[in-house]
């Protein structure tokens, strides 16, 4: 994992899955680099680009075994938060702790390669997620079953329909063992029956004590699967509570 894992300051708490303390993250606005930019900085130095704060002072914790929903409009910082929790990007300020193994599914087909077959892609993704070859082989059957694409496992992914790729992507994430699963808006592209199948699978994982962090614009779906949640609004937490309260507040917000 591209992450720091020294134990300085970490508490040996097993009742928590994820904790964020005063986390903030910004991005530079505009083009990263251009000839014009290079020339102008040569002439007059130290011109700071405008920064956009995707997250400002975000503090929350997710307990082990929670089914935690995050709602919020586009640009509220949901995806940035998932990148930080998954250890992909690094925050500007604050501290993030993750207990146990976390599997993120931040985009359908993330990590898949179009030229590789379904099977090869599952092996690659499993390895990226830190699983051993044996652990991947042990789950291959379950993944194939879940995705329901037996005939296509040895076909290159580029021949898949987008729905099939999404099924394989989702099946891979939920079938591999982890303590916490993070899903960022990944059920939007699959059909209703597969969505129900996924919701059932997540509920089962959760009943086994696994923590699930689930992000979606689909309020109905969030309400039906999650038990607790929070509402992110322009980079900060507007509300944290039971999913019913959060969803009601989010749905009823003044425009």
């Amino acid at each position: 994992m591209p992450t720091t894992s020294d134990l300085n300051g970490a508490e040996a708490r097993t009742d928590l899955a994820v904790r964020c303390q005063e986390v903030a993250k910004s991005y530079g606005l505009g083009e990263e680099l251009s000839l014009q930019h290079t020339l102008s900085t040569l002439v007059r130095r130290g011109e700071e680009r405008d920064r956009f704060w995707a997250l400002t002072d975000v503090t929350f914790e997710v307990k082990r075994g929670e089914f935690f929903g995050i709602v919020g409009a586009n640009g509220s910082g949901k995806s940035t938060l998932t990148q930080l929790v998954a250890g992909i990007a690094m925050q500007d300020r604050g501290k993030i702790e993750v207990w146990g193994r976390l599997i993120p599914l931040l985009e359908v087909g993330a990590g898949f390669h179009p030229e590789l077959t379904g099977r090869e892609n599952v092996q690659l993704l499993g390895t990226i997620l830190g699983l051993s070859r044996e652990a991947i082989r042990a789950e291959m059957e379950a993944i194939t079953d879940f995705a329901g694409i037996h005939r296509y496992m040895d076909t290159p992914l580029k021949r898949y329909s987008s729905g099939m790729a999404a099924r394989l992507s989702f099946a891979t994430a939920v079938c591999f063992p982890a303590d916490t699963y993070v899903f960022d808006e990944v059920l939007a592209v699959v059909d209703d029956s597969f969505r129900d199948q996924c919701a059932t699978a997540l509920a089962r994982l959760n009943s086994e004590g696994r923590t699930i962090i689930f992000m979606s614009h689909d309020l109905e779906l969030v309400q039906s699967v999650c038990s607790t949640g929070m509402w992110l609004d322009r980079g900060s937490i507007r509300m944290r509570g039971s999913i019913g309260e959060v969803a009601a507040a989010y749905a009823g917000q003044p425009a």
């Binding site: 503090t59 086994e208 696994r210 607790t228 937490i237 944290r240």
Partner: protein, 292 residues
């Protein structure tokens, strides 16, 4: 504390008895803003991912290709022919008692590897855009993956040059040093791949520069000629780190006298590139997901 986070919390499944299940992984990952977060140990822990990424690129390269892996032989064969015509026939380079083909093959083995890594490394992060931004892929795996993905052509040309050296009767006890010299090539390539991968992710200039380096490199690297043939200019060409490595490979396989200046320069440059590459990669890695 953010006041909103202290609002009511509903009973979680953990409170209802789910916590009896043990953790799959008992480690705690703590992330705080840091200048760098990769460690040497990550090289080892990410080795499987690096291997898989390398194999993925090897497989992908020859899919939907009529000749497929045959290109592993055809490509260096074509280069060998071109180098032979240019340096042996046109400029009549003198390689002493060593047959020209054998001589050129040794240089080509080193150059094939270096040149492919230069081409691949600057675009690795861009090519893996989704993996970089959306998966927790260990970042060092992109570097080790590049080194793995360009190994097959090295293997082919290296084997060919050892066979050619054996046929030419130049193999002696010095050839036993070859494993060390191969490791040196890998280490040097690792150093600049670290550097170029990180820089290429941020500055696409590195992508634009790669073909120039490769095209000029075939002339400015002693692939088709011995460094000694460059006369006074040999001192300048010695600063190309591939020069010292090729000189040492020819000493080992062909029994030629190496240009010791070039060898020492290349050793120093290898150390500098590995240290600098490690430093730059580590510093830039924390923002890969932001600007790739």
């Amino acid at each position: 504390m953010n006041p909103s986070s202290t609002s009511t919390q509903a009973a979680s499944a953990a409170d209802l008895g789910g916590a009896t299940i043990g953790l799959v992984d008992t480690s705690v990952r703590v992330a705080v803003p840091k200048r760098r977060r990769i460690r040497f140990a990550d090289l080892w822990s990410s080795r499987h991912v690096g291997f898989m990424l390398g194999m993925r690129d090897i497989k992908a390269k020859y899919k939907q290709s009529a000749l497929g892996p045959l290109w592993l032989v055809l490509q260096p064969l074509g280069m060998l022919a071109a180098v032979s015509v240019a340096f042996s026939k046109v400029t009549s380079v003198n390689t002493g008692s060593v047959p020209y083909i054998t001589f050129a093959l040794v240089g080509l083995a080193v150059w094939t590897y270096v040149q492919m890594a230069i081409t691949v490394a600057p675009q690795v992060l861009q090519a893996n855009y989704q993996v970089v931004r959306r998966s927790p892929c260990p970042r060092l795996a992109f570097v080790t993956g590049t080194l793995v993905s360009v190994l097959p052509p090295l293997g082919v040309v290296f084997t060919a040059s050892v066979v050619a050296a054996a046929i030419s009767g130049t193999l002696s006890v010095q050839a036993l040093v070859m494993p060390v010299l191969v490791a040196w090539l890998l280490l040097m390539t690792f150093g600049f791949t670290l550097l170029v991968t990180a820089i290429g992710g941020r500055f696409r200039d590195a992508v634009a520069m790669a073909p120039l380096v490769v095209q000029a490199g075939i002339f400015l690297t002693p692939v088709g000629y011995p460094l000694s043939a460059a006369g006074n200019f040999a001192k300048v060409l010695a600063f190309n780190p591939a020069s010292g490595i090729i000189e040492s490979w020819r000493w080992s396989l062909l029994g030629s006298t190496p240009d010791m200046f070039a060898v020492i320069v290349a050793i120093v440059e290898t150390i500098v590139m590995v240290l600098l590459g490690w430093y730059v990669f580590g510093r830039m890695e924390t923002r890969f997901a932001d600007y790739v």
